[in-house]
Structure formats: C-alpha cells, structure tokens
C-alpha cells in the first residue's frame, strides 16, 4: 500500500487498483464449466470474452435464476444463452471516484476494466475498492443493496446494464 492519503485514493485510476490477469469465459463454455471455474477461483462472477473483447458477464445469480430456476441443464446450456450481454465496463484510465459513482448509479458492484484497445485487462469490484480503503464505498453499497423487507420503499430495481459506451 502506498503512502497516498485517503483523499487522493479516489483520484487513482482503476488500473492501479483492479484485479489483474482476469480469467474469462468463452461464450461457448457450458454453464457447468462456468460454475466449476467460479468454485475453483472463489468468485461470484466471470467476464465472457472473445479475443479478450467483453461479450458479457455471468454471475452465480444468473446461474441460479436463469438456469436452475428455469429447469435448464447446466451441462447443455451455453454461457452465451444466460449471461448479461450488455455490460458496463470501465477504462483502466478512469479514476476510482468515477467508477465508484458508476457502480452506485447503475447498481452494480463489479466492472470489467478495458485497455485503450477495448480489451479486457482486469476486473474491479466494490470489494477491491473497500479493501483499499476508498471512501464512499458505503454509499455505493447502500445504493445497490436491497433492504430485508420487500414492502419497504427500496431503491429502484437494478436495470439491465446499459451498452458499452
């Protein structure tokens, strides 16, 4: 950890704080393989790429609701069929503050990070930012967390993530 103060952490780029050497799925990988990979890597989400260009994101929630709840066979279902295919991504040059604001606004807690050529170079999660002591993480988490009582006024439900800008 560098000696930067908390006020300057927010101005660092996500390229400096992201998880590097990301593992990505292929759209043709089965959901069963994706689940084994999530187990092995101890993650809840994986980017889906072709030639390191992001085609989508697959989460353990997608597997639970779009495959298991739907009665589909994970071994016979492709990642491409159940992933979210419009994925908001961050640029490695964006500031942490900007990415945190995006997470709160669009209600997601992880973003693939792209280089100048639009290729995947990392993942940044709310957890990464929290671990680095970035202020404002609590606000972002509150924006994307659902309270325990369904009948309580809640934040707007998470919309499908907009297309890559």
């Amino acid at each position: 950890m560098t000696t930067t103060t908390t006020t300057t952490i927010g101005k660092q780029t996500v390229g400096e704080l992201m998880t590097r050497e990301p593992v990505a799925l292929s759209p043709q990988d089965s959901v069963a393989l994706a689940a084994r990979l999530m187990d092995e890597l101890n993650v809840g989400a994986l980017p889906v790429c072709e030639n390191w260009e992001v085609r989508g994101l697959l989460t353990d929630r997608d597997i639970t609701v779009r495959v298991i709840a739907a009665g589909l066979d994970p071994a016979a279902t492709l990642t491409a069929d159940v992933m979210t295919d419009r994925v908001r991504c961050a640029s490695a040059h964006q500031s942490v503050n900007e990415v945190l604001a995006t997470m709160g606004t669009v209600q997601i807690r992880r973003l693939p990070v792209l280089d100048d050529h639009g290729r995947l170079v990392g993942m940044v999660t709310l957890g990464d930012l929290a671990a680095q002591g970035v202020p404002g993480v609590a606000d972002a988490l509150r924006d994307i967390s659902t309270p325990s009582a369904p009948d309580r006024p809640a934040p707007a439900p998470a919309a499908p993530e907009p297309a890559l800008a």
Binding site: M38, D60, T125, G127, A130, V137, A138, L141, R142, P157
Partner: protein, 138 residues
C-alpha cells in the same frame, strides 16, 4: 442504543431443507434476493445462497430436481439475537462476511432477518469498515 429488534424485518421468507434446489432457486428468483434461511418449523437449520447452488450443486453436477436444500446449504449459521445492539451485529457481519443475517430469539427460534442495507440506512457510522470486511476482492 439501538437493538436489532428495532430495525430487522420480521416478515422472513424461508425455505425447507427437503425442498428441491430447483424449487429453492425459483423462490430466490421470485423474491429477488440472494439468500434464504432454511428452517424446520421455527428452528433455524442453515442458510442457502446463489453461491451455494452454483458451487455446491451445479459445479458438482448434482441434479437440481433431485438434490435438496439440505445437500448444499451452509449449516453453521451465523445469526444474531434480537437483543444485540446494531454495532455488535455490524461487527459480526463484517467478521463473518455476510450481507444478510438471520435473527433469533432467546429460544433460538428464527424471528427476523437483517440486511446490511438496513444497517446502512439506520446507522451511518463505521459502515466502510464493515463493507471492507465483507467484500472480497476480485
């Protein structure tokens, strides 16, 4: 001092240990939440999450229409008491890396559930520390 009883939700949806994973997944989908307490009557047996289904059933090739909740749930449940104060529970959720925690009464019966969002809404202090503790990088 604010106790958990004052901010928890008493309307707790639960799932049974003998329910199939497909049925449990449909319940998670319908309720738009990521975890459910597993109960037998009012007795808390465990918690079931999207992750449990994914890594303990799908990754292992279990049939979701045959396997049941008790096969994959987490049995060692971190719970809190109605009498606990909010600060204590926030610390506990941070240590255990949980976003939702069931609440039990003095007889160990499930009486409510508290989510990190509830704590965030009601107490603005020390949230960043808790979030840091429960959020795993990557």
């Amino acid at each position: 001092m604010t106790t958990i009883a004052e901010i928890m939700s008493r309307d707790v949806q639960t799932v049974a240990p003998e329910d199939t994973l497909q049925k449990a997944a449909q319940q998670l989908r319908a309720m738009d939440i990521g975890s459910l307490p597993v109960t037998s009557g009012t007795r808390l047996l465990g918690m079931l999450t999207d992750r449990d289904i994914t890594v303990r059933a799908v990754a292992e090739g279990l049939d979701p229409q045959q396997a049941c909740v008790s096969d994959v749930m987490t049995q060692q449940v971190q719970s809190c008491s109605v009498d606990d104060d909010v600060e204590t529970v926030m610390q506990q959720m941070g240590d255990a890396q949980l976003r939702r925690m069931p609440v039990v009464n003095r007889s160990q019966e499930l009486v409510g559930i508290v989510a990190l969002a509830d704590l965030a809404l009601k107490s603005g202090r020390h949230i960043d520390g808790t979030v840091r503790d429960i959020s795993q990088p990557g």
